[in-house]
Symmetry: C2
Subunit: 452 residues, 2 copies
Amino acid sequence: MNENYQSENSSDSKKSIGLIPGFSKLTKEEKLKFICERFHQTPKEAEKILKSFWHEDSEVQKNLDEFSENTISNFPVPYGIVPNVLINGQNYFVPMAIEESSVVAAAAKASKFWFTRGGFKAKVVNTLKVGQVHFKWSGEKETLFNVFEESKEIIRDELTPVLESMEKRGGGLKDIELLDKTDVEENYFQLKATFETCDAMGANFINTVLENIGAQLKCIFDDLSYDGELEIIMAILSNYTPDCLVNVEVSCPVADLAEPSLGMSAEEFAEKFATAVRIACIDPYRATTHNKGIFNGIDAVVIATGNDFRAIEACGHSYAARDGQYRSLSKCEVENGYFTFSIDIPLALGTVGGLTTLHPLAKFSLDILGRPSSKELMEIVATIGLAQNFGAVRSLVTTGIQKGHMKMHLMNILNHLGATDEEREDAKIYFKDNIVSFSEVKKYLSDARDYQ
Amino acid sequence: MNENYQSENSSDSKKSIGLIPGFSKLTKEEKLKFICERFHQTPKEAEKILKSFWHEDSEVQKNLDEFSENTISNFPVPYGIVPNVLINGQNYFVPMAIEESSVVAAAAKASKFWFTRGGFKAKVVNTLKVGQVHFKWSGEKETLFNVFEESKEIIRDELTPVLESMEKRGGGLKDIELLDKTDVEENYFQLKATFETCDAMGANFINTVLENIGAQLKCIFDDLSYDGELEIIMAILSNYTPDCLVNVEVSCPVADLAEPSLGMSAEEFAEKFATAVRIACIDPYRATTHNKGIFNGIDAVVIATGNDFRAIEACGHSYAARDGQYRSLSKCEVENGYFTFSIDIPLALGTVGGLTTLHPLAKFSLDILGRPSSKELMEIVATIGLAQNFGAVRSLVTTGIQKGHMKMHLMNILNHLGATDEEREDAKIYFKDNIVSFSEVKKYLSDARDYQ
């Protein structure tokens, strides 16, 4: 071990400013030791904590470690189940990986509510993915467009080996379009390509094809002596996939919404709910939190099935701003005595390849869901987003969200502080009218214990 | 155990459509058994997989279980370290929880690059949080505004016990504004409140205050007999916090960017890099993926420190669309021989309360970071976002991203398939010119083994 890696073990060791070289070259065990010795007052304790999250089977752990880099442990995210999600007449039990309380409970409650009211109707609208080759061309526009048109087939032919396997599965490169963007940036043009990637998310496939197209384009314009220079800036997929869209809706006669727990009539509830959704459409401050709630549900299933939630988030929020204002992704209509709540959301998901195949719990999740196609997974994920949203807005317009939230939070804190069953019951009563926070609960518990 | 919970153990058991009641009432062990028996061909194997991810200490596991609902296991996310992140002259080792390959490596590479070029300069611009009470008022506008103005102080007084603890820490309710929104929705008004929540993310505090304000407002207008009716639609924090903003930048003379690995001159690189960032500003398709890369870095630190990444994502993307078009969150300038790359991003983060205190690895992460204030954490998180973005764009405009990606992906698949060291080396050579996919690697390995 390098001398640099000795523990300083002083409280302001983190204040050092010198570069500490070679961290990535250390073994996993050395990295872990270094972090614990340098940043913890009790390194042995710290080591034990990190190692306690390792998987017992070293092969499984190695597998997890190599998904990323400089790994020293696993961050555990609670993995739970939403039962009875009725989608297109089929009853799913949906796995969610989420650390926030009330999310699974809200999805479960909403799913149960709609189970007896016809369930969720989901429909994949289309499944196109997008990729771009961004480049500059300093010559005549006409030359560019003509040569591109002439070369299109050659480019395609050259791609044959790269496309082969995807084409066998029914996918491939659907179209390449040359776009003139010189009005916004000097000499800037773009090849915009669309892809069908079947059950794969397809990022690696798309990027490989695009880099190949970029290289070919460069060659074509370098080899022939056109008057002008072509520079490839970058070639990469776009996570914005407005044509990889799924629609989900629930609907029922307004009268059927009636439930004692609403605390109001079905008509009043329907109106109030629809108003809340309209507000989320009108006001970006509200829209942000409204959509955040949708992604509480969506991301949890996306993670549980080994998909990439950053891609899903970026696409969904960008889509929410497509008309020039950031708006709600869901909408609600109350018309002719009918209540309809729906969502349109782009979701580029995969059920083969990537982590879906490699992560042991992602595989497990797909088993629970009956090994769905990517289209079926789009329907399931969007449904949980809508269920989540229904649950959140329902709470907001009826009891408010703090009631449920604070109860969960209180239980977490009491657990953490090792409260007995009796103390938990007493605390529940006390905190009905008092704000729950870690320090308040700690104080309450310590006072109660002193009093005994 | 209820009869309903017996295994059907047939391949289309998932096709059943009847509601299966009482799942949430089962114990954790019963839930787990039910899921495994119903959805797996080999339930005993499946049970073993789920249980293998439990924490060995049942107290720790119970703690994790109760963060969420219907939990049956933990979903492990690789937890790694980015070394040598120089922010405002201080060297941080930053923990990241992320399942995507190349992300930690890219952040590490970018951090190292900038370490010797002055490091990252980060600055918190402001720290205000936002909350809203949405309501309808059917009476005269003037009455509403007058009564609100007169009641403002009473409302504040009534809030004293709720605000007390936060005010002691230097935070509290900063302002309440009454907004007329009747131009977009009939009778719709809004109280927009701003908060300072110090080192807490503050969601529970804000929501409690808002529900209290809403209830008071309702009381005031119900008690007195004004001509008109006031209906509270909902009261909740907004995750859109454009005034909780942090700025990070890196800069150096263009000549200092020189590095053999760029494969081009420093000037050429600077220009190409700046063009790529401009394109992400101009084109929403590119902006989505550009920002997705930023959140690859941001979310990983947000998760590792026990914060809520859905809130951070929703806010950031909504902010990216604030001028009416969805754009890049980062920007780049090359001027007077100087290269400057920067980001402005709203980040409402906490370092006390919630999971930051309760999740064992979140606590650990904050220890590694030297127990930062929420402001310091904003700086760290935004820095990793910028580092990530620098790394991604640098790759895109130089070698392309597939080279690094495919190497990582290949290693993951080879691990999964239990390849020997020799097979790994041979595969690396073979896949230099062939597309990496699970099926291709499996086929390659099987062919290679047959040949032996």
